[in-house]
């Protein structure tokens, strides 16, 4: 019995970008068209793979448990070998990555790919890192994929060089290096106590730990948590984030929209796997920290959104708001909130990505120095005088470009502020309604969460209106930005997806609900992962007695 | 301290002798590094460890493993060879660099001009 060919799909999200990225290293930088088409084909293939996996985990088959399948690398049985696990959550994240990857790569092909050497390889390897982090079921392998995606992100942040990017890299890199060190400390401590690196196995071991070992294991998990929270952008570990995102070139920043989500994803996965309902004495370890930390992050993100002068920086803070919301939602430990949070995760990722792409187009026409916000005008400007000046009340025919950009900007605003008609509203509604419909009284912490989510939406609205008016509505002496179709299409596609998520809210939310339910059932996850048997008889040279001792 | 391999007594004594002597010579060289008054004098100190110290310990090692595995094991020769070949590179460059630096800074030590060649 050999492995069904279709199961090799699980490795493709990692292997494909790796192979193509490596292949492109063999060719000179001058062969742009070749590399361009190859990369585009790759991301589209990744999209196809992600969609297939997404459909597969949703199609129950007789043999396997309906919602996941496990790929034992090297044919070594878990928990010994490294496994890839495709479950609903992983499939969702893969799909998001593929969507973002396709959109931003297309966008980058208009001009950004020229800004530095080997862009495509860096980009594809970033996708590899992201996909690997979402797929792997092994704690140390997760570290490796984190490093891949971080290393790629370092390269991409610096892509195009320039003082701002270098300066941002100067903060981004050492902070993440420290976080990586913490990651290693945490992982090794966990290994030292539990003797395993497999996440499913870990969830099995955690409840059985002796009290002192448990404390040590929790210390490891806490250090690990800090590492993830740096990446997820929790206050006060996230000051690097807005600067970095603002400095990165647009397609990179847009792709980075999912970088914080990797941290969130891992926290969600590990937190629920190791400290879920079945974790015995360690149940809900760190939940409160996530909850309050998340709320602090929302608050700080909201403040930052308001305080941002540049649109990119605003986007960076919007990322923080989104992270904070997700962290706090995870911290509630309520599966209904989590399903809303998953919906929110998808929405906010798409929205922020679209926003970063959009901002670059909008600001392309801006005269230098237009970044300084005309807030003083708001206080000291005299509307009456203005009317006198501008007595001819005839609208300016704005070129279609601006109109389209403006429309997209409004859509992004609605998404980020959580206003109708796009999916941002439903996402917030889903989370808030879950929080408010929890059994028992609505306590102060829950009220605070609700208030913060609402207030952050308002802050986003205020700040984005201010910025949007400044850039799109002020009488323009700026040139009309030249936008190519392959730059507009990705933005449109991302926003269209958000619209689809609104209209198809029912099925989407059902998917998120079942995803959340599975997350709350770690023993089933562990059973499925650890029950995986190596494929068939061992290859020549291996005795046929493979399998766990 | 009993984890050491079990050798015949003669071999043990021989090995012990060589490694202790080697270590001692090395130590003396390193002490020289500390005690000698200026940089140029200190340049001579590491050679002790790199030559006699290394050689002695390598001989000890060769004896030990040859006896242990009952066949001549002389791969340590390589280490001796490599150390011998590579040590001058560093020391020559270092000596030259130091002369430059001292001359630029006007430190006492190296003569202002290269000394006249000593004629026999």
């Amino acid at each position: 019995m050999t492995m069904p060919a279709v199961e090799h799909l699980a490795i493709l999200p990692i292997l494909l970008p790796l192979a193509v990225g490596a292949f492109m290293l063999l060719f000179d930088e001058r062969r742009r068209l070749f590399k361009m088409s190859l990369s585009l084909a790759t991301v589209l293939a990744l999209l196809a793979v992600a969609i297939t996996l997404f459909v597969m985990v949703n199609t129950p088959s007789d043999e396997r448990w309906s919602t996941m399948f496990v790929y034992p690398l090297g044919n070594w049985p878990p928990p010994f070998g490294i496994v890839l696990v495709v479950d609903r959550l992983a499939a969702l994240m893969l799909l998001l990555t593929a969507v973002l990857g396709s959109a931003t790569l297309l966008f980058a092909m208009a001009r950004w790919h020229n800004a530095g050497p080997r862009f495509y390889t860096l980009f594809l390897l970033l996708l590899m890192g992201l996909n690997g982090a979402f797929l792997t079921g092994d704690l140390f392998n997760l570290f490796v994929f984190f490093e891949i995606l971080l290393a790629a992100s370092y390269g991409l942040v610096l892509h195009g060089s320039g003082t701002a990017r270098v300066r941002a890299g100067l903060h981004y890199i050492p902070i993440n290096l420290i976080a990586s060190s913490l990651f290693l400390i945490g992982v090794s401590l966990i290994y030292g106590v539990t003797g395993t690196l497999n996440m499913a196995d870990l969830s099995r071991v955690v409840p059985t730990l002796a009290p002192q070992s448990r404390v040590l294991m929790e210390a490891g998990a806490a250090v690990l948590g800090i590492a993830f929270l740096v990446k997820a952008g929790m206050w006060p570990l996230s000051f690097w984030l807005p600067t970095t995102y603002a400095a990165a070139c647009a397609p990179v920043a847009a792709m980075f929209a999912i970088m914080t989500k990797v941290g969130i994803y891992v926290i969600m996965r590990l937190f629920l796997l190791c400290f879920g309902d079945e974790a015995g004495a360690s149940e809900d370890f760190g939940g409160l920290w996530l909850y309050y930390g998340g709320m602090a992050t929302i608050a700080f993100g909201g403040i930052g959104v308001l305080a941002s002068q540049s649109m990119q920086r605003l986007g960076g803070y919007a990322v923080l708001v989104s992270s904070g919301t997700l962290l706090a939602a995870i911290g509630t430990g309520n599966s209904a909130v989590i399903s809303g949070a998953l919906y929110y995760l998808a929405t906010s990722t798409l929205a922020i990505s679209a926003y970063f792409l959009l901002v670059e187009l909008i600001e392309r026409g801006q005269a230098a120095g237009a970044d300084v916000l005309a807030v003083t005008l708001e206080i000291f400007g005299d509307p009456e005088e203005d009317i006198a000046d501008e007595d001819e009340e005839v609208g300016v025919a704005i070129p279609a470009t601006i109109a389209v950009l403006g429309g997209a900007f409004v859509a992004c605003t609605a998404l980020l502020a959580g206003l109708p008609p796009l999916s941002g509203f439903i996402a917030k509604f889903a989370m808030l309604s879950a929080v408010m419909n929890e059994a028992g009284d609505i306590d102060a912490a829950h009220w605070a969460f609700v208030a913060l989510v609402v207030a952050s939406g308002l802050a986003t609205l205020i700040a984005m209106t201010r910025n949007g008016i400044r850039t799109l509505w002020m009488p323009a002496e700026n040139e009309i930005p030249r936008v190519r179709a392959i730059e507009a299409i990705p933005i449109g596609a991302l926003l269209f997806l958000c619209a689809t998520m609104t209209v198809m809210g029912g099925p989407t939310m059902r998917y998120m609900e079942s995803t959340a339910q599975i997350l709350y059932w770690p023993s089933e996850y562990a059973r499925e992962v650890l029950g995986t048997k190596p494929a068939g008889a061992a290859p020549a040279g291996q005795p046929a007695t493979g399998g766990a001792p | 301290m009993s984890e050491a391999p079990d050798l015949p007594l003669w071999a043990a004594l021989l090995v012990s002798f060589f490694i202790v002597v080697g270590a001692l010579v090395t130590l003396i060289g390193s002490i020289g590094l500390w005690r000698l008054p200026d940089f140029y004098a200190r340049l001579h100190a590491p050679s002790l460890g790199a030559t006699l110290g290394t050689g002695s310990i390598l001989i000890g090692s060769m004896i030990c493993f040859s006896v242990l595995q009952s066949r001549p094991l002389v791969h340590e020769v390589l280490i001796a060879l490599f150390v011998t070949i590579t040590t001058p590179v560093t020391l020559m460059l270092l000596a030259r660099a130091s002369v430059y630096r001292d001359r630029i800074e006007g430190n006492p030590g190296p003569p202002e001009q290269d000394p006249e060649p000593t004629e026999l």
């Binding site: 290393a151 370092y154 610096l158 320039g162 903060h171 890199i173 400390i185 030292g192 | -």
Partner: protein, 114 residues
């Protein structure tokens, strides 16, 4: 006890490294990162406990006995960590050089404090 010495060593390396990464000059930071990576590597390594004369290398034709050999997993992890650490040192070095070139200073913020 060897354990005590090793753990103190790890602690001092880590502390020195942390002290350096909290300093204002990029070069201090990169030196600090090197020290921290030593400390972290040793820390990972120490999770396999202290074993003397038991390298995880099998004798020919002798079946492997976990009790007789040092735990190979932490060692494998350290190896990966060393490589990644090296890569990151190189990368950060170049970034700090680029920052120094572009901003004219070697301060970690890319500008001299007032």
């Amino acid at each position: 006890m060897m354990e005590m010495i090793l753990s103190i060593g790890i602690g001092v390396f880590a502390a020195s490294g942390v002290w350096l990464i909290l300093r204002p000059r990029t070069y201090q930071v990169i030196i600090g990162l090197s020290l921290i990576s030593y400390a972290v590597n040793l820390f990972i390594f120490s999770m396999g406990r202290v074993r003397i004369d038991a390298p995880p290398i099998l004798q020919p034709d002798v079946p492997g006995d976990p009790a007789a050999l040092a735990d190979p997993i932490p060692q494998a992890l350290v190896l990966t960590a060393i490589v990644i650490g090296f890569a990151m040192t190189a990368l950060f070095l170049v970034v700090l050089l680029a920052a120094r070139g572009r901003t004219g200073t070697d301060h970690v913020d890319g500008r001299e404090p007032e």
